[in-house]
């Protein structure tokens, strides 16, 4: 497909849809989002905004509700049939937007394509690799793995199912709409990159019908402009209301604001491996020293020195919830035993003294600028709080593109560079072992790619591995919660807060929200 035909196609679509665009009936919805997908190919890039847009046009075998609990999708049910195999019973009578009937063959074709999209910047192969797909009959599918995998249904919830006719379709075919036929609640009618996405209700949808006939989605990157567009009545619904605009929108007649604690966590990682010297940490005379954070008391001192409530009130304008673990309350993997550390600077000073640092030390902490809500200001606040207990702290922030490289491998031999850094994490997978596998487990053999501070506890590793090797999901969850509790009590990392996600709409429009900060159009309701 050449660029010329792309533009011509879009022009034809634009001309056709333009007639509809003029009249706005009660059942048309106009939405402004902060970003737009990089592609309409649901298998091109595993990126939050792409995935949430894909769920509007496509379904996966298993769907996730607003809190990422698994619910039936194109599979009505699933269960393990032996130690390494899951059986999915597929929904009958489902058709794609182009009229083709949905069968097990489409699933196999989808998996073949999704694992092999050329030049994918972040591939879906992660969810597909190592799985064998076997068609039992048209509506029964078996998925087996070499070792027991209790999370096969979670993995299947991440891959949008396409019609097998498009197994060889290119990403461009999806972008132009030629191949963009799913089974989802909406059909894609138009995409002008940077400008507009238009969706139309799929009247033949197998699930609960959506409330809108037509939806127009515009990307408006600037938060103030987005809020202004809502106030001016240009759009009916916006996501990510900036803290500065929030009081205005909340007090205005005719508008309502929706908030929920999201699963996006901001945390600090403190280098604790047994190194000789660490950069960015010195004694008070400026001589390099080994990481003081090898001592759990120093890590604890840092945690209790952080006034999380003050950060929530004054830096975040109320848009954060202090946290002591990966998951917010009510979300998978949450432990009721883990509370955010209470602010106690005196206790922090005692702990430092017990660890032999009664005079403190000097420290530089690092973080990205502009990646997370108020990231630089949070770091500055933390630096002041640490300085108050005697750790003379300075802050260095940098653009995300520079930060993540140095964070991951800026040190000698591609080791993580920073001694103390702040970053963010949101569990996209909907399974409770994900943060443990990524951040807590000892690094190596596919484990611990986000474990940058060298935390290692054999007991915790075993809990994680055993939980992931058992098809008994309830047992596994217990193991994961136990591993989480141990790791958090040892300050494998220092949680700061979960961000509070915001949406706003004109009266008559409501949003069903949960722990995900991305926006799902089908959850926008007409009241």
């Amino acid at each position: 497909m050449t660029k010329r035909t792309t533009i011509a196609m879009l022009a034809v679509v634009a001309a056709g849809v333009g007639l509809v665009g003029g009249a706005v009936s009660a059942q048309d919805l106009r939405v402004a989002l902060a970003a737009e997908p990089t592609s309409m190919d649901p298998h091109y890039q595993n990126l939050t905004i792409n995935n949430s847009m894909a769920t509007q046009v496509y379904d996966a075998l298993v769907l996730q509700d607003v809190n990422q609990n698994l619910i039936p999708g194109l599979a009505e049910s699933w269960q393990p049939v032996d130690g390494t195999t899951w059986e999915f019973k597929l929904r009958s009578g489902v058709t794609f937007h182009n009229g083709a009937a949905f069968t097990a063959e489409d699933v196999v074709a989808t998996m073949q394509r999704a694992a092999n999209v050329p030049n994918s910047p972040s591939s879906f192969a992660t969810f597909i690799k190592g799985k064998t797909f076997e068609i039992v009959d048209d509506l029964t599918l078996r998925v087996s793995t070499e070792n027991p995998n209790p999370f096969t249904p979670n993995d299947m919830s991440r891959v949008a199912i396409i019609d097998s006719a498009f197994v060889d379709a290119t990403t461009e075919d999806f972008n132009t709409g030629q191949a963009a036929f799913g089974t989802g609640p909406f059909t894609l009618t138009k995409w002008l990159p940077g400008d507009v996405i238009e969706l139309k209700r799929n009247d033949g949808y197998w699930g609960a019908a959506v409330d809108w006939d037509n939806v127009t989605i515009r990307p408006i990157g600037d938060g103030t402009t987005r809020a202004a567009a809502l106030i001016a009545g240009d759009v009916d619904f916006i996501e990510r209301v900036g803290p500065a605009d929030l009081p205005n929108l909340e007090s205005r007649d005719g508008l309502s604001v929706f908030k929920s604690v999201s699963n996006r966590l901001l945390y600090m990682t403190l280098h604790l491996a047994d190194d000789r010297m660490r950069p960015y940490v010195t004694d008070n005379d400026g001589n390099l020293i080994a990481s003081p954070f090898q001592d759990i008391r120093v890590r604890q001192a840092v945690s209790v020195a952080i006034n999380r409530q003050a950060i929530a009130d004054r830096v975040m304008d109320g848009l954060s919830a202090p946290s002591g673990q990966f998951s917010p309350e009510g979300y998978i993997g949450y432990s009721a035993n883990l509370k955010p550390d209470a602010y106690d600077p005196d206790r922090a000073k005692e702990l430092l003294a017990e660890a032999g640092f009664s005079d403190g030390f000097k420290l530089t902490i690092h973080g990205p600028a502009g990646r997370y809500s108020n990231d630089t200001r949070i770091l500055e606040a933390i630096a002041q709080m640490l300085s108050r207990i005697g750790i003379d702290t300075s802050v260095e922030t940098m653009p995300a593109s520079v930060f993540f490289k140095r964070f991951a491998r800026g040190g000698p031999d591609d080791t993580p560079e920073f001694t103390v850094a702040m970053s963010g994490y949101a569990n996209g997978s909907g399974e409770p072992s994900h943060p443990l596998r990524i951040f807590i487990h000892t690094r190596g053999n596919g484990y611990g790619p986000g474990n940058r501070n060298g935390y290692s506890n054999a007991e915790v590793d075993k809990l994680i591995e055993d939980g992931r090797a058992s098809m008994d999901i309830a047992m596994g969850e217990k193991a994961f919660i136990q591993a989480t509790e141990t790791a958090m009590q040892e300050y494998a990392l220092v949680p700061i807060h979960h961000e509070i996600a915001t949406w706003a709409a004109r009266d008559g429009v409501a949003y069903e929200h949960g722990a995900l900060d991305s926006t799902f159009i089908h959850n926008i309701r007409s009241k």
Partner: protein
């Protein structure tokens, strides 16, 4: 004239080559695009795969050679993020930016020129003082602040104009533009005016200076002595003479309107080149950034050439280098 144009084209090729080298090496010093593409928590194998797929595992000089050979055949590489040719992406966004820049230029001239002439004819009157004071404001107030204020006043409070976006487009004489629909015109007024304000102020100042200078000339005095009306003097004797320097400056300014409309495009969510390039810079989409910068360089080279030629045509006293006797 021909020799002049040929020499300039040859110089331009050298400039483009040097720029590509500078841009390419500078951008290779910043961060690692892989970290912006894959989730930072991905396994090392996935990171390695992406690095291989995008050729980032190769040494910089190999990457540059690939880029250069591609560029010579018109291929500036594929966007890391969109997976599509950088030139195609830019071509898609270019019409939106072009119509915004053109509208802004038209506004700048139609507003700035009469005001400038008026201020130049009566330099000590109250009207001139207000106009010149306003032009100082236009030059000094930041574009983004003014843009937000315009949104608040004209969209939120008065509700006259839409806040953002490009609006409907229509095809006319084979050109697709939002200028051909009422909805599209409504959408373009605010961003184009926002973009034009700085240029209006500049046109006013240029025109006033030119007017004052020309009005003191002997031929104007002679025209007055002949008893010509002041309308006729302005139209026949003043305007043609002050237009030459204004056209020269506007030619280059048109380039800056196209190349640096980034702030306005971001505030008004205008789907043009500026938004594409800002996102590319944030996400380290190197092929787009390189292609865009080279496009800007080429744009200015062409505009400079065109302005020089027009200048020579308008002003018979000017002879271009390389054009003998």
């Amino acid at each position: 004239m021909l020799a002049f144009i040929l020499r300039r084209i040859m110089q331009s090729v050298v400039v483009l080559f040097v720029m590509s080298l500078i841009v390419f090496s500078m951008i290779n010093l910043v961060g690692d695009p892989v970290d912006m593409l894959v989730n930072p928590e991905s396994l090392p194998e996935e990171i390695d795969r992406v690095r291989r797929d995008f050729g980032l595992d190769q040494p910089a000089y190999v990457q540059y050679w690939k880029f250069l050979t591609g560029a010579l055949s018109g291929d500036l590489g594929n966007s890391f993020i969109f997976g599509r040719p950088a030139l195609a992406l830019m071509a898609e966004r270019f019409p939106a930016t072009l119509e915004l820049a053109t509208t802004a230029l038209v506004i700048a001239v139609t507003v700035g020129l009469p005001l400038g002439v008026y201020a130049g004819l009566r330099p000590n009157g109250w009207g001139a003082r207000i106009i010149m004071g306003g032009s100082v404001l236009g030059i000094s107030v930041p574009t983004f602040w003014l843009g937000l204020m315009m949104i608040i006043v004209f969209s939120v409070i008065l509700g006259w104009l839409p806040v953002s976006g490009r609006g409907e487009t229509a095809v006319f004489f084979g050109i697709e533009s939002s200028l051909f629909t009422v909805d599209g015109l409504k959408h373009i007024i605010l961003p184009a005016t926002n973009l034009a304000l700085f240029k209006i102020a500049m046109v006013i100042r240029l025109t006033r200076a030119g007017t004052e200078e020309v009005m003191a000339q002997d031929y104007i005095k002679f025209a007055r002595a002949k008893g010509l009306s002041s309308k006729r003097i302005v139209r026949a004797h003043l305007l043609p003479n002050i237009l030459i320097p204004i056209i020269t400056v506007l030619g280059i300014e048109f380039g800056t309107l196209i190349a640096f409309a980034t702030v306005t495009e971001s505030i008004f969510a205008w789907p043009g080149l500026g938004k594409l390039v800002i996102d590319a810079i944030v996400n380290l989409d190197r092929p787009i950034v390189v292609a865009y910068l080279l496009f800007v360089v080429a744009l200015f080279l062409v505009l400079n050439l065109v302005v020089d030629i027009i200048y020579a045509v308008l002003d018979p006293r000017v002879r271009l280098q390389g054009e003998e006797g």
